[in-house]
């Protein structure tokens, strides 16, 4: 006797149907939420295990790189930067590092998983796609820590910069990193081929790190690049961070935070919607 027959025959007892559905169709909201969190936690740990193989190299390289960048920018062509310019260098370096490291990481991981078939393995598990994506994102945020910390430390050590450190700064940096990673992930979802992803990512990186209002202030850029800058998350990340470093919270930096939140959300929604959770 199948459930279909049970369903089609109203005179029959529906007990056995319920038993099967109890597990799953009738699972309570709270239950689902705690399951989702548990799944998120496990996948996060697994992803960190993947990263931990090269964590030492990663931390080393991502400390040296930003350090060198801050050093170089501060002494560029006999340039003697003032406090504002130095802050821009720091925030620019943080953004630069977030873009180079964060933007590509999840996108590339996803395409590797797609190629190896691991993505399908996760699909076959009774887990939520959102748990999976979020865990993937957060796991890659971990490796961004040195990229965020080093420029600030370098600024303090090399230039005796007075930096305004507070939780708001931390929040903004995490949000900036998150939105960049989320948009990178979107790319990984929309572009299927590994080679193409590398190409597209590199193009984005060059534009976001160098050809947009990051190291160079907005008003010094040619108009087309200024316009381009409005749609790039890096612009808002950089701006918000430099405001925070200076301790000047004004309407502009709240706007930055708003834009970044929206971008992060859009990234996650697109990822959730378009990440193919099947073998089709």
């Amino acid at each position: 006797m199948t459930t279909r027959e049970i369903e089609e025959n109203p005179t029959l007892n529906k007990g056995s149907l319920k038993t099967y559905q109890n597990n799953w169709l009738l699972r309570s909201g709270f239950n689902q939420l705690s399951r989702a969190f548990n799944d998120f936690r496990i996948i996060l740990i697994e992803q960190i295990y993947i990263i931990r193989r090269y964590l030492v190299y990663f931390f080393f390289l991502n400390t040296v790189g930003p350090f060198a960048l801050v050093f170089a920018m501060g002494h560029y062509a006999g340039f003697h930067p003032d406090q504002t310019e130095l802050l821009r260098i720091i925030s620019g370096t943080v953004t630069f590092a977030l873009v180079t490291v964060g933007f590509t990481s999840v996108a590339q991981r996803l395409s590797i998983m797609r190629q190896q078939g691991t993505l399908l393995y996760y699909c076959a598990l009774p887990i939520n796609k959102v748990s999976f994506v979020t865990a993937l994102l957060i796991s890659r945020l971990v490796i961004l820590i040195p990229s965020i910390v080093t420029p600030i430390v370098a600024g303090i050590i090399m230039y005796n910069l007075e930096i305004h450190l507070d939780l708001w700064l931390l929040g903004v940096m995490i949000l900036g990193a998150f939105s960049l990673v989320a948009l990178g992930t979107t790319l990984g979802v929309l572009v299927k081929s590994y080679e193409l992803i590398s190409l597209v990512c590199n193009a984005f990186i060059v534009v976001m790190a160098l050809a947009s209002p990051n190291f160079i202030p907005n008003y010094l850029l040619p108009l087309p690049l200024q316009v381009l800058g409005w749609v790039l998350p890096s612009t808002y990340t950089s701006d918000a961070i430099s405001h925070c470093l200076a301790g000047t919270y004004d309407r502009v930096s709240y706007f930055d935070v708003l834009v970044l939140s929206v971008m992060a959300l859009v990234g996650i929604v697109i990822t959730g919607k378009f990440l193919k959770w099947s073998a089709d």
């Binding site: 006797m1 199948t2 459930t3 049970i6 099967y20 295990y49 078939g117 993505l119």
Partner: protein, 350 residues
């Protein structure tokens, strides 16, 4: 109270078409599954056999809710899993052909993770994983990273991961590929055990037809997306042949008589004594100087064997076995090089 859901999985008229990739107009869409209908009963070990590209993986992917059929329906325990793929995921475990996660995790932790992702609590997962490490003999590799294991051990660990959470349905795509003979036997035994003891419904995709024969309770032979044969191994064997054969190994006490002469003598007497118009004739084949194969109608085998043994003389016979057509023969009959021949034969008869 309605208890049993006899048909665990009901697949009807399932068709899966992959759109042609690339821009070239010459490329045809691929019909990976072509109107497949079959039922898999609760608690049975069901085999999916067929050559490369037959559509086996495509079929199990759809049963697991991993791919959406182009047409047709799949009910698992009576629930439409095209509408509710999450249902089958909560019930079934999958040992895929490739791409198991937990690459950089130690085996014992991977088992824990797999269990927890299946909804077990940490303690439950711990208990089950320890049990499985024992059953699958994984003690030695429990602390090894998954990516450092040999290809065969990965399969065994993969089976362990799939068994975490005590699934009701276990789908295995080539579970014995790459395994050494001892491990292969072990995996077959494990499959048989878990099926018997826990009543897990197993779907097995395999190319290892000869070995799987003892484990499989029912099989479907698939080629080019179509089911060519479906049933118990015994039924399928009978369909292609009602003959059994007696395989005799003779020893050196033959003295003056050689195997060929014996064969001729025995055949003559057998034909005189047993042959009737309604049954196929006895066929003899001398495979080597000491080996003789006698094909005989299955129904008569008991009597005939006694007769043959007494004719040849038991002291001359070193070893003998009575065998029926094997599942491998059935497989070859349907998809082997002679398959098209068999088909045209059937066609000309009808």
């Amino acid at each position: 109270m309605i208890e049993t859901v006899k048909n665990c999985i009901e697949v009807s008229n399932l068709t899966k078409i992959y759109e042609a990739g690339g821009r070239s107009k010459a490329r045809q869409p691929i019909v990976a599954n072509d109107a497949i209908s079959l039922e898999i009963n609760q608690g049975e070990v069901f085999g999916l056999l067929g050559p490369n590209g037959a559509g086996k993986t495509t079929l199990v992917n759809q049963i697991l809710g991993l791919a959406t059929p182009t047409e047709g329906s799949i009910f698992v325990k009576g629930i439409d899993i095209i509408k509710h793929p999450a249902f089958v995921k909560s019930l079934a475990s999958y040992l895929p052909q490739r791409g198991i996660a937990f690459e950089y995790t130690e085996v014992h932790k991977a088992l824990l993770f797999a269990g927890q992702l299946k909804g077990l609590t940490k303690i439950q997962a711990k208990i089950q994983s320890e049990q499985l490490i024992g059953e699958l003999d994984l003690g030695e590799v429990a602390d090894t990273f998954f990516n450092k294991l040999s290809g065969g051990m990965r399969r065994v660990v993969g089976l362990g991961l799939a068994l975490m959470g005590r699934p009701e349905i276990l789908v295995m795509d080539e579970p014995t590929n790459e395994l050494d003979p001892v491990r292969r036997r072990r995996v077959w035994n494990i499959i048989q055990e878990i099926n018997r003891e826990r009543g897990i419904t197993c779907i097995l995709v395999t190319h290892n037809v000869a070995e799987a024969e003892t484990v499989l309770q029912r099989v479907a032979i698939i080629d080019k997306g179509k089911v060519l044969a479906l049933g118990t191994p015994g039924k399928l064997k009978q369909q292609i042949s009602t003959e059994a054969f007696l395989d005799l190994t003779l020893n050196d006490m033959l003295e003056t008589r050689d195997t060929k002469t014996i064969a001729e003598e025995v055949k003559f007497k057998l034909d005189q004594r047993f042959h009737s118009a309604t049954l196929p004739a006895f066929r003899f084949s001398v495979e080597s100087p000491n080996n003789l194969k006698i094909y005989l109608p299955f129904e008569q085998s008991g009597e005939v064997i006694n007769f043959i043994v007494s004719e040849i003389g038991p002291q001359v016979i070193d070893d003998f076995k009575l065998a029926h057509t094997s599942l491998e023969d059935v497989y070859l009959h349907h998809v082997g090089p002679e398959a098209s021949l068999n088909k045209s034969e059937i066609g000309s008869r009808s």
